[in-house]
């Protein structure tokens, strides 16, 4: 026989589980949205592809390679330090040859999604790097 307390616990567990699942889905969905936004708005300069005119890397990636000289990854998708406030600073103010981006191009909500995506992509990159050792 299930006691009232057990029932309450079961319901609480179910609610918690549902909440966790919903939170996870929302997080996953933010990362997915962030991935789409990254591919659309960031990857043409900061992606992993080959650059033009004989350059081995795309311009944003190459600029960060020159800036950090290996102390940080050149690829944004491998960075673990790009929280939403950091991204917002760079996106709204620009940096060197990267001009600032307007809210009509990248909204504040997009920045949250981008941060969620980059948190995941950097984990995936780290795991891949571990497997490669």
């Amino acid at each position: 026989m299930i006691t009232a307390r057990q029932l309450a616990q079961a319901i609480a567990f179910a609610v918690l589980s549902l909440g966790f699942a919903a939170s996870s889905m929302a997080q996953q969905s933010a990362a997915q949205r962030g991935n789409a936004k990254f591919q659309h708005s960031c990857a043409p300069c900061h992606g992993a592809g080959v650059g033009d005119d004989g350059h081995a890397m795309l311009p944003g990636t190459d600029a960060l390679r020159i800036k950090y000289r290996g102390t940080l990854p050149a690829l944004l998708e491998e960075r673990t330090d790009l929280t939403a406030p950091v991204l917002k600073t760079f996106l709204r103010h620009g940096s060197f040859s990267m001009p600032p981006f307007r809210q009509t191009e990248v909204t504040d909500a997009d920045i949250q999604d981008l941060a969620a995506y980059l948190a995941e992509s950097s984990k995936a990159a780290a795991a891949k790097s571990q497997r490669g050792r």
Binding site: V50, D52, P100
Partner: protein
């Protein structure tokens, strides 16, 4: 620091902002310094100066009806508007307006691809659609058409074409404004007008016949300030099956004349895409004797040095779009014509690929000669690979090109015209005591526009003194160059707001009748002068006193 539109009180401005918010939604009206920062020109020569071209507000409409509402409010309060599409016109002012305190109409949210037709080869798009967006739409839908893209692909077909931007495939498509077909415009009084067949309500050929009937005002909207373009059609190049390249090398300096003549013939018969000219003597640049000969335009000495070094004086890379067989035949025909005109010409086969090229084929040249061709854009693939140009480099790891700017003069399409321009630019350089980066005698033209060449003066203005004083001096130098060029017949095709009055000064035939004509129209169509006053040097009466005020 809040900025107000000229002649508008804070109270009027606040009332206008309230109406803008009602029109587009409060979250799409931006007035704070933080929000407006991205609406400044990142490459401005007058950044942080009291006259920097900063807007007072920005509004982001999402529909043509919202654009109409914004225009009506601007008319009510006599507020100047400045429209941007993707706002990426860097080197030409970026998103910054001509008048400090304008309200920027940011059309980026109007980003719908309305139609792409790969049987009749056209597209109809809104202003916020970038070249990259349009390319991805075409790829996602498996359509067999190409986008003729400018170097950076983050700009929009509408914004780029309206500023007379260019591309790199076949001649007709390279002139982006020339390849437009039909536009929709919100006029200064808020009415919507459509050009060409769009003026016929039941038309089924808006993107196929751009002239309609009667005078066609479409040209007024290119580098113009007669309305805000909200839709535009473009002719698209059919995706070819094959791409082939080849190079022609000629030994002597004077061979450039028949070389250009022959390339022009092939171009205007639509046999070749954009030709890429090059000078074969650059390996001698470190040689003082060579530089002296080049600076003196000593043709005999230059030819002798070329022969001694076994180098060719000029080369042109040709590209052919079509089938494997037609591109082969056309290359053979090009060689035959060249050999007839220049018996000493040499030829080298370049590449021959089925279209679409693979990423690997695009990213790496396999030509047996040094190719100058930029590969993504020859394949109609927009991107941002070109952005290495103003960015950090191994040579300049802690600097970027803060004064990135584009200034190019139109040159007649012949070898003689190139030689004349080289000498004229060298003379301007000497008069102004502004040394060119390289001897003008080895300058080559670009053939972005099918029917004209474009050349720069060769001054090294980028990556120079970036202090406020240094930038001010650089701007003053540019103005002197524009004025000197005009004296010997060279005018620019495009400029940032900071220099638009100066370029407009170049076009002064018959006491500036063209500008007076445009300003007469401007005053009639836009009596309050609210649409982009000052653009391309066309000032409405209400703001005419601002002409030249940035000097």
């Amino acid at each position: 620091m809040a900025i107000l539109p000229p002649g508008v009180s804070q109270q009027q401005f606040d009332a206008a902002v309230r109406q803008f918010k009602e029109a587009v939604g409060p979250e799409w009206v931006f007035t704070s310094e933080e929000e407006l920062h991205p609406y400044r020109d990142h490459f401005s020569y007058i950044k942080d100066q009291p006259n920097e071209l900063i807007p007072s507000a920005a509004v982001g409409p999402n529909s043509v009806e919202q654009v109409q509402a914004v225009v009506r409010t601007a008319n009510q309060y006599k507020i100047p508007l400045y429209a941007i599409s993707t706002g990426k016109n860097f080197a030409y002012g970026g998103p910054s307006p001509n008048v400090r305190g304008s309200v920027t109409v940011d059309l980026k949210r109007m980003n719908r691809v309305l139609e792409v037709n790969d049987k009749r080869f056209y597209a109809l798009v809104e202003p916020g659609v970038s070249y990259i967006d349009l390319y991805r739409y075409i790829q996602d839908h498996g359509l067999k058409v190409w986008v003729d893209t400018p170097d950076p692909g983050w700009g929009s077909p509408i914004g780029n074409s309206l500023d007379h931007g260019i591309g790199y495939t076949m001649g007709f498509y390279r002139d982006h404004f020339g390849a437009h077909c039909g536009m929709e415009v919100v006029l200064p009084n808020g009415e919507i007008m459509r050009t060409g067949m769009g003026a016929l309500p039941e038309s089924k050929s808006w993107q196929e016949y751009k002239h309609g009937f009667g005078p066609d005002p479409a040209g007024l909207f290119g580098q113009g300030n007669f309305g805000i373009v909200t839709k535009m059609g473009f002719r698209l190049m059919p995706q070819p099956e094959h791409w082939r390249t080849g190079a022609v090398m000629v030994p002597k300096r004077q061979d450039l004349i028949p070389l250009v003549d022959t390339v022009n013939y092939l171009t205007d018969l639509a046999i070749i895409g954009e030709p890429w000219y090059g000078n074969g003597l650059t390996p001698l640049m470190g040689n003082t004797e060579f530089r002296d000969a080049a600076n003196a335009f000593n043709e005999t000495a230059l030819d002798a040095q070329a022969a001694a070094a076994k180098l060719h004086s000029w080369q042109v890379e040709l590209q052919f779009y079509g089938s494997e067989r037609t591109t082969q035949s056309n290359w053979e025909y090009a060689k035959e014509l060249m050999a007839r005109a220049i018996p000493s010409a040499r030829f080298m086969d370049g590449e021959s690929f089925k279209v679409p090229l693979t990423r690997e084929q695009i990213s790496k040249s396999t030509t047996p000669y040094r190719s100058n061709m930029r590969r993504n854009i020859t394949q109609g693939v927009p991107g941002l690979g070109i952005w290495w140009m103003p960015s950090r480099s191994e040579q300049n790891p802690n600097a970027w090109d803060e004064t990135h700017i584009g200034l190019f003069s139109l040159i007649g399409r012949s070898g003689d015209a190139i030689f004349q321009a080289q000498r004229d630019f060298a003379a301007v350089s000497k008069r102004l005591e502004m040394p060119s980066l390289f001897p003008n005698a080895i300058q080559t033209p670009v053939n972005w526009y099918q029917f004209a060449f474009i050349m720069g003066n060769g001054f090294g203005l980028g990556r120079g003194d970036t202090s406020p004083e240094g930038k001010k001096q650089a701007a003053a130098n540019l103005r002197r160059v524009l004025a000197e060029n005009a004296k010997v017949g060279y005018g620019d095709y495009r400029a940032p707001p900071m220099l638009q009055d100066d370029v407009a000064e170049q076009y002064s035939f018959n006491n500036h009748v063209l500008r007076r004509f445009n300003e007469t129209l401007k005053d009639a169509i836009d009596p309050n002068g609210i649409i982009m006053p000052g653009r391309a040097g066309v000032w409405p009466a209400a703001y005419r006193s601002l002409r030249g005020s940035l000097r």
